[in-house]
C-alpha cells in the first residue's frame, strides 16, 4: 500500500497462450459446476411437485428461475434484458456510468484533500506526530461502516443525490492518497533540492516545480489502490441511501427481489467498472507524467 512505484519488469514471453489455457479450463469447469450447483435445487423443486416442464433434475438444472449459477442461455438473456437500451434508467451500463462518475469525483476530492494533508504532514512535525497515528488507525477502521451513517447525516443537511456518494468515496480514498503524497513530496533527493537552492528558488517554487511533479507517480500509484475502495464506498452509499440510479441501487433491488441472474450480470458489470477505473487512472498517469520513461 505504501510501496514506491516500481517499474514493471520487462515481459519475457507473451502471457496470451497461458491465459487462454486457464480461461479454457475455467470454461470447462463451469459447465459441470453449474449443473452440480443447480441440480440440488431442481431436485427439490421436482420433489415438491412443481411442474418445471422438464423430466429429470439434471435437465432442469439449466432452466431454473433462480439458479445458483446461471446457465449460458440465462446469462445471455440476462445481459440482454439489463443492457439493451444502454442508456435507459433501468439498464446496467447507464447505472455503471453513474457509479463510475461518483467514484471519479470522489477520487478527485480525495486527491485534493490528500494533497492538503500531505503538505501539512511534510511541513510540520508536531502535526505529523499528533495526527498520523490516527490517520493510520483510520485505515484499519471499517470506514465503510460509516457510509450508511454519513449518508443519513448528509441527507439531514440537505445534501442529496450525486454528491454524498462522492463524499463517501473520497472519505475512503483520501488516506492512501495522503500517505502516497507524503512519500512523493519527500522523494526528491538532496541533489535536486540543492539545485533548486542554487537557482535561488523560493520555497513555493521548490514545492510547485520540484516536489509536486516528483510526487505525481506516487499519487497515481495510490489512486489505483484507492480506486477499488472508493468504488466500494460509492456502491455501499447507494445501497444505504435513497438513490434512483447506480449499481448499488440495482444490487439492492435485485437482492430484495432474489433475481440471481441479474445479480450475476451486475456483478460482472461491477467487476468491469473496477477494472476500467484502474485502467483510466493508468491512462491519465501516462498522459500527465509524460517525462517519465514509460514503464
Amino acid at each position: 500500500m505504501t510501496t514506491a512505484p516500481t517499474p514493471r519488469p520487462a515481459r519475457r514471453a507473451s502471457n496470451v497462450l497461458p491465459m487462454l489455457a486457464v480461461a479454457l479450463v475455467a470454461v470447462l469447469i463451469y459447465w459441470p459446476l453449474m449443473l452440480w450447483a443447480n441440480a440440488g435445487q431442481a431436485a427439490r423443486s421436482l420433489a415438491s411437485g412443481a411442474d418445471l416442464g422438464c423430466g429429470t433434475a439434471l435437465q432442469c438444472a439449466t432452466q431454473l428461475r433462480n439458479p445458483v449459477i446461471p446457465a449460458p442461455g440465462q446469462f445471455a438473456s440476462g445481459f440482454q434484458s439489463l443492457s439493451v437500451p444502454p442508456l435507459a434508467a433501468t439498464s446496467a451500463p447507464y447505472n455503471a456510468l453513474v457509479t463510475g462518475g461518483e467514484t471519479l469525483l470522489g477520487l478527485a476530492l480525495a486527491s485534493l484533500l490528500g494533497l492538503i494533508l500531505a503538505t501539512l504532514l511534510v511541513r510540520s512535525r508536531s502535526f505529523e506526530r499528533a495526527t498520523l497515528p490516527w490517520l493510520v488507525a483510520s485505515q484499519t477502521v471499517p470506514i465503510v461502516a460509516l457510509a450508511p451513517m454519513l449518508a443519513v447525516l448528509l441527507g439531514q443537511f440537505g445534501v442529496q443525490g450525486f454528491f454524498p456518494k462522492a463524499v463517501i468515496a473520497a472519505y475512503i480514498a483520501f488516506f492512501p492518497v495522503a500517505i502516497g503524497m507524503v512519500q512523493g513530496l519527500r522523494s526528491p533527493d538532496p541533489l535536486q533540492l540543492d539545485l533548486m537552492r542554487t537557482y535561488r528558488a523560493s520555497p513555493a517554487q521548490t514545492f510547485g516545480l520540484l516536489q509536486i511533479p516528483a510526487s505525481l507517480p506516487y499519487l497515481f500509484t495510490s489512486l489505483k489502490v484507492a480506486a477499488t475502495a472508493a468504488l466500494v464506498g460509492s456502491i455501499v452509499a447507494e445501497i444505504s441511501t435513497i438513490s434512483f440510479s447506480g449499481l448499488g441501487k440495482m444490487l439492492a433491488e435485485n437482492s430484495r427481489a432474489s433475481d440471481t441472474v441479474a445479480l450475476w450480470v451486475i456483478m460482472i458489470y461491477g467487476a468491469a467498472l473496477g477494472i476500467v477505473l484502474v485502467a483510466l487512472i493508468g491512462l491519465l498517469e501516462r498522459l500527465v507524467t509524460r517525462w517519465r520513461p514509460s514503464a
Binding site: T131, W134, V144, A145, V152, P190, A227, I239, M267
Partner: protein
C-alpha cells in the same frame, strides 16, 4: 526540508513541557461539558461557549506542539493521545452547546453509555463478524493464497496464465460479489467467510509470488555453487526473501478482512454481526448503537492489525 533538519537540534534543548497546557485544555473542556450538562436547555448564546471551546482547543494545540519536541517516547506518543482526547472532549462540548439532538449526532458520552448498555449484544456480534467470518476467512484465504503462489512459482505456465487474472480480479469491488455468494451459499455466516477468503486470496497470491521472485541473483548463484538442492534453495533463500512481501500482504488483508465481513453482512444475515447491527440501527435511527458498533469494530480492527505487525517484527527483526 533541508533547512528544517538543521534547525531542529538547535531548538531541542529548550526544556518546555506541554503538560500544563494540555491539562488546562483537557480539564477546561471537561468542565465546559459538565457545566452544559447541568443546564436544562442548550445555552441561549452559543457563540460565547463556542469561543470558550475554541480558546481551550487553541491552548491544547500549543500544548501538543510543545510536547511533540524531542525524540523521547513521550514526544512520540503524547501528541497523538492528546489529540484524540481533546477532539472527543471538544465534540462533546460543541454538540451540547448547540443542543444537537442525540438522535442525529450522539455525543461521545452517550455512545459510551450505549456501548456499555448493549455490551453483550455487541460482543456476540463481534464474535460472529470477527472470529467466524473475518478471522476464519482470513486464515483460509491466506493459506490458499500461499499454496497457490507456491504452485505458480513452481510451474511458470501457471504463473503466466493465472497471475494476470489475479491482478485483474483484485480490482473487482467486493460489494458486487457479496450478493451473489450470499444467494448461492445462504444467509448464515459461512457465506461471509467465503467472501472474506476470496478478498484475502488475491493480495496474498500477488505479493507472495512477487516475494518469491525477489531473491537476488547472486544469492541464487551462490546456492547453485554450493550444489544446494531445490528444497534447500527454497528454504534458505527464496522463502526468507519472500517473507516481508507476505507480511505486507497479510497486514493489508487483515484490515480488508474485517471491512469486507462487515460490508458483506449488509447483504443479508441471519440476524448476527456488526454489519447487520449497523444496518438495522441506521434504519431505526439508533445512531448511538451504530457508533458503538463502529467503536467495537475499530478496536478489533486496530488490534488485529497491530497483532500482525507485532508478529512481523518478531519474525523479521530489523525491518
Amino acid at each position: 526540508m533541508a533547512t528544517q533538519r538543521v534547525t531542529v537540534p538547535l531548538a531541542a534543548p529548550r526544556p518546555l513541557s506541554g503538560w500544563p497546557l494540555l491539562l488546562l485544555s483537557g480539564l477546561g473542556l471537561l468542565g465546559l461539558s459538565f457545566a452544559l450538562a447541568r443546564l436544562a436547555a442548550p445555552p441561549t448564546s452559543p457563540a460565547l461557549w463556542l469561543l470558550g471551546v475554541l480558546l481551550l482547543l487553541l491552548l491544547g494545540i500549543f500544548g501538543i506542539r510543545q510536547s511533540a519536541q524531542g525524540e523521547t517516547l513521550a514526544a512520540r506518543t503524547v501528541p497523538a493521545a492528546a489529540t484524540l482526547i481533546l477532539f472527543v472532549l471538544a465534540v462533546e462540548a460543541l454538540l451540547r452547546t448547540y443542543g444537537v439532538p442525540t438522535g442525529l449526532i450522539p455525543t461521545p458520552s452517550k455512545v459510551m453509555q450505549s456501548l456499555w448498555a448493549a455490551r453483550s449484544v455487541l460482543l456476540q456480534d463481534a464474535y460472529y463478524t470477527f472470529i467466524l467470518e473475518a478471522l476464519l476467512g482470513f486464515v483460509i484465504g491466506a493459506a490458499l493464497g500461499l499454496l497457490l503462489a507456491l504452485f505458480a512459482v513452481r510451474f511458470r505456465f501457471l504463473e503466466r496464465g493465472l497471475l494476470p487474472y489475479a491482478a485483474l480480479l483484485s480490482s473487482v469491488p467486493i460489494v458486487a460479489l457479496a450478493p451473489v455468494v450470499i444467494k448461492a451459499v445462504g444467509l448464515g455466516w459461512p457465506s461471509k467467510t467465503i467472501i472474506v477468503a476470496i478478498t484475502v486470496l488475491f493480495p496474498v497470491v500477488i505479493n507472495t509470488v512477487r516475494g518469491l521472485q525477489s531473491a537476488q541473483r547472486m544469492h541464487l548463484d551462490l546456492m547453485h555453487s554450493y550444489a544446494a538442492s531445490p528444497t534447500q534453495v527454497f528454504r534458505e533463500v527464496r522463502w526468507p526473501s519472500a517473507l516481508p512481501f507476505v507480511f505486507t500482504a497479510l497486514r493489508v488483508s487483515s484490515t480488508l478482512a474485517l471491512i469486507n465481513a462487515i460490508v458483506a453482512e449488509f447483504f443479508g444475515t441471519e440476524g448476527h454481526g456488526l454489519g447487520f447491527r449497523i444496518q438495522i440501527e441506521v434504519g431505526r435511527f439508533g445512531l448511538d448503537i451504530v457508533w458503538a458498533a463502529i467503536v467495537v469494530a475499530s478496536v478489533i480492527g486496530i488490534s488485529f492489525y497491530l497483532l500482525i505487525a507485532a508478529a512481523q517484527r518478531r519474525l523479521l527483526p530489523g525491518r
